[in-house]
């Protein structure tokens, strides 16, 4: 049974209440640092690493923005561990990416207190700036979004969030619960023993649990799942030929931003910047000869297909690829539709569990016999 | 060739027409038969072989001494007689003590036994000694057009090293070739090698099951063959396979099982032109359907 602590807040004081919690943890030595979305001095909210209790005042975990995936930050902080305890406040999609990165030995959770926040979606960076300009706050977002009103005048939460069926985080030590918490209330939930100890140390009293939460989450997931399935059907119809797919990707300039933004694209140095793809002039000429012309840069589709083969098994659907594209290519549905199939084939779900072995990560002679043709 | 005819009990007493057939055909095929004067029961397996070795072998010895005195081998039709005599002889031949004991018992009767006379089944004599070709050459009235099935006497097959004369006891050919020599078509069926079930105490102790066991065989014959007749070469098979059919008919309430059963010697006699009234007149299942077509 998990433990809940209820945080009631007055108007415009959500973050103040929350900062008390983080401050408590830092001061009482539950952790040595906090990685959480923080309000930046002028505008914007960014993940920041806080080691001084005084700076916790800026926390804003529910801000509907994620400029970079927190999973990548988690990797930077822990792949070569500091030895200090960090509380990380991350979105569910980031946490699911973290789970994959743990299996790939890119994240080490030994010294991490993982805190997952309820996520109702995020805006693109530029839109979030507008949102703030238009007076939007995390509180207003939580309230409106729970009523289904995420759209602002000329923008809305990103497509990935609209079809995300994981608004709450699993595999965490603690959760920040907003969905179904009621107005003026959020809950802190301690899920693991580690989480419980941290909650106790933070000085926040545990007690009442959120009554309407399960129902509200269920409802939201149902809406999102419907939207997802609809999107899949649409997108598959739009990309059912190679030409249609090529068209979707035609704007690509090989800037590799999507690759950089992708939390599970974990290579140190991408194969696409190695010698393998550094061709001689005569090679290009030969390719040009074949069709009479050659679009340059030439391997844009190949690049994306390679990324799909590499990443679709790990894809958590965060939508950072779409956000990253300077040419507005909507890559998210391409990854999600293919991930849907590849993960189902192995009865795998990226981010579901740390203990689940990644598909094809071990040698099993009796796997995929329909492909290998062996009797088993 | 001279052979001493061992008739046993059932044939001379109940089915003498079979004896008639043997006595008629053998001389035609060049076998001279001499009678076994003062012979006794073979003995039947259910008799002395089931009480003690002494009485069994003494009785066998009694009988064998007759053939030995005549200086020829026995020819036997009854499967049980054949097997009992052969097994008895085998025991004596392989156990000197037993042979000695038998002679000790025989001594006061003025008989001795050495084992010099062999015991041969009539089908063996016909198959190995005379041969289907010779028989075919002698046929006056052919069974052409008739379908038959054959019943191998278990006692002429197993255990093969004691009683056997076929090349393979597990895939015997003799009866089939003998019947084919008479012009008939011999049909095969699944339960061809299934025992008729007539010997021993099976029929007496559990008649229901014994009849049911035989029924499987007859159903297979009816289903799988066009048999106009059944050729047997053992008096027990002959009587049992007739009786079972009548019992089965009573059970099913119709004349479903009515395939005539002949001892092979009877068929042979008929084909050699002998009078059916003499060589094939005694039966429990009417033989008219066959006799009318020869």
């Amino acid at each position: 049974m998990t433990k809940f602590a209820k945080l009631s807040f007055k108007k415009d004081e959500l973050n103040k209440e929350l900062s008390g919690f983080f401050k408590g943890m830092l001061e009482n030595g539950a952790v040595n640092a906090v990685l959480a979305p923080m309000a930046q001095p002028k505008k914007g909210v960014r993940l920041s690493l806080v080691t001084s209790a005084a700076h916790t005042a800026q926390v804003d975990p529910f801000a509907p923005v994620a400029a970079v995936s927190g999973a990548k930050i988690a990797s930077s902080l822990t792949a070569r561990p500091s030895g200090r305890k960090v509380a990380m406040v991350l979105r569910p999609c980031e946490i699911r990416a973290v789970v994959e990165l743990v299996k790939l030995k890119q994240v080490n959770l030994d010294d991490v207190l993982l805190i997952g926040m309820d996520c109702l979606g995020r805006y693109e960076n530029t839109d979030f700036a507008k949102f703030q300009e238009q007076g939007g706050t995390s509180e207003s977002f939580l309230e409106n979004a729970q009523a289904g009103k995420t759209a602002m005048a000329d923008f809305d939460i990103i497509g990935a969030c609209k079809i995300c069926e994981f608004p709450t985080a699993d595999n965490v030590d603690m959760r920040l619960c907003a969905i179904g918490a009621g107005n003026g209330t959020v809950f802190i939930e301690a899920v693991t023993k580690k989480g419980e100890e941290a909650l106790d140390k933070s000085g926040i009293k545990s007690g009442e649990s959120p009554a309407g939460r399960d129902e509200a989450v269920k409802k939201l997931v149902a809406v999102r799942t419907d939207a997802r399935d609809k999107k899949f059907t649409e997108y598959r119809a739009e990309t059912n030929t190679f030409e249609a797919l090529a068209d979707k990707l035609s704007a690509c300039i090989n800037c590799y931003n999507c690759r950089v933004a992708c939390p599970v694209c974990y290579c140190k140095e991408c194969v696409f910047v190695t010698d393998t793809f550094r061709h001689n002039g005569d090679q290009f000429m030969m390719w040009a000869d074949k069709g009479g012309m050659l679009k340059m840069p030439n391997d844009t589709i190949f690049y994306h297909l390679t990324r799909i083969t590499h990443m679709s098994l790990f894809c958590v659907g965060c939508g950072q690829c779409t956000s990253a594209c300077p040419n507005d290519i909507d890559l998210m549905p391409l990854f999600r539709t293919s991930a849907d199939k590849t993960q189902a084939r192995f009865n795998y779900q990226a981010g579901r569990s740390v203990d689940e072995e990644q598909p094809m990560a071990g040698f099993k002679s009796d796997e995929l016999v329909e492909v290998t043709g062996q009797v088993k | 060739m001279e052979l001493c005819l061992f008739l046993g009990c059932n044939t001379p007493a109940i089915r003498p027409d079979v004896e008639r057939a043997i006595r008629a055909t053998m001389p035609v095929l060049g076998i001279d038969l001499v009678d076994s004067d003062n012979y006794v029961c073979c003995p039947a397996f259910g008799a002395f072989p089931s009480t003690d070795i002494d009485s069994w072998l003494a009785t066998s010895g009694w009988n064998l001494s007759i053939a030995e005195e005549k200086g020829c081998d026995f020819v036997v039709q009854c499967g049980s007689c054949y097997s009992s005599l052969r097994m008895g002889r085998e025991h004596m031949m392989h156990h000197a003590d037993k042979m000695a004991r038998v002679n000790e018992l025989l001594e006061p009767t003025g008989r001795t036994v050495t084992g010099k006379s062999k015991v041969r089944h009539v089908s063996e004599v016909l198959y190995k000694e005379i041969g289907p070709e010779t028989i075919a050459g002698q046929v006056k009235k052919s069974l052409k057009g008739l379908h038959g099935i054959v019943q191998y006497p278990c006692h002429t097959l197993f255990p093969s090293e004691v009683v056997g004369f076929e090349e393979s006891a597990r895939a015997p050919k003799g009866m089939r070739q003998l019947v084919e020599a008479l012009g008939a078509t011999v049909d095969s069926y699944s339960r061809e090698l299934q025992c008729c079930g007539g010997a021993g105490g099976f029929m007496k102790s559990t008649p229901e099951q014994a009849i049911e066991f035989a029924k499987t065989k007859f159903d297979a014959i009816l289903d799988e063959t066009k048999a106009d007749f059944i050729a047997v070469s053992c008096i027990t098979c002959l009587m049992h396979m007739e009786n079972v059919q009548n019992t089965l008919n009573k059970r099913v309430g119709e004349e479903r099982y009515k395939i005539p059963v002949f001892d092979y010697n009877q068929l042979l006699a008929l084909c050699l032109g002998f009078d059916p009234k003499q060589v094939a007149s005694i039966c429990n299942v009417s033989r008219d359907s066959v006799l009318s077509r020869i």
Partner: protein
């Protein structure tokens, strides 16, 4: 069943004293094709071998199934261990006859009396009708019959049960 109480160690020697018996390893080949195994109770040759080996005297004395054997000897042919099951069945019958007078087959009395199980040489009508020669049967030869009876009287079961044979 208590093997201390209910079994006689050397009973097999009394019944079927051959080395063959002990080779039985209960493979059930003898059962598979046995006609009398269709009976009720079934003749289970394998079980008889086991009973003899264990020396289950009571059970064996009361067992009727050896008498249901049709003597086809198929078991003998197929037994991989050469136990000679048919001979064993005869041996069990012999032992039963020797130890239980009610087991003595009536047919031996018949044979003792007239030489045959059937009335050979008595009802000769059928034979006459077929024109068969008269058989020189022992039934009709008192001297030989007497020899025969005297010989049998020296054998164990007949002599032990001489009352059955009318003296």
């Amino acid at each position: 069943m208590d093997l201390q109480q209910g079994s006689i160690k050397d009973l097999w020697k009394a019944i079927y004293n051959t080395g063959d018996l002990h080779h039985c390893f209960n493979c059930s080949t003898c059962l598979s094709g046995c006609p009398a195994s269709h009976g009720d109770p079934p003749l289970l040759v394998r079980n008889l071998a086991r009973k003899v080996i264990l020396g289950l005297e009571e059970e064996l004395l009361n067992d009727d199934t050896p008498w249901a054997c049709v003597s086809c000897s198929k078991c003998e042919e197929m037994c991989p261990m050469d136990v000679k099951p048919f001979e064993m069945i005869l041996a069990i019958r012999q032992w039963q006859s020797a130890n239980d007078e009610t087991r003595v087959p009536p047919s031996i009395v018949e044979i003792y009396k007239r030489g045959y199980t059937q009335a050979v040489g008595v009802n000769t009508d059928l034979r006459d009708k077929l024109g068969l020669p008269e058989l020189k049967t022992i039934t009709n030869n008192p001297e030989q019959l007497q020899f025969f009876r005297e010989m049998l009287m020296k054998t164990p079961v007949v002599s032990a049960n001489d009352y059955m044979f009318g003296g």
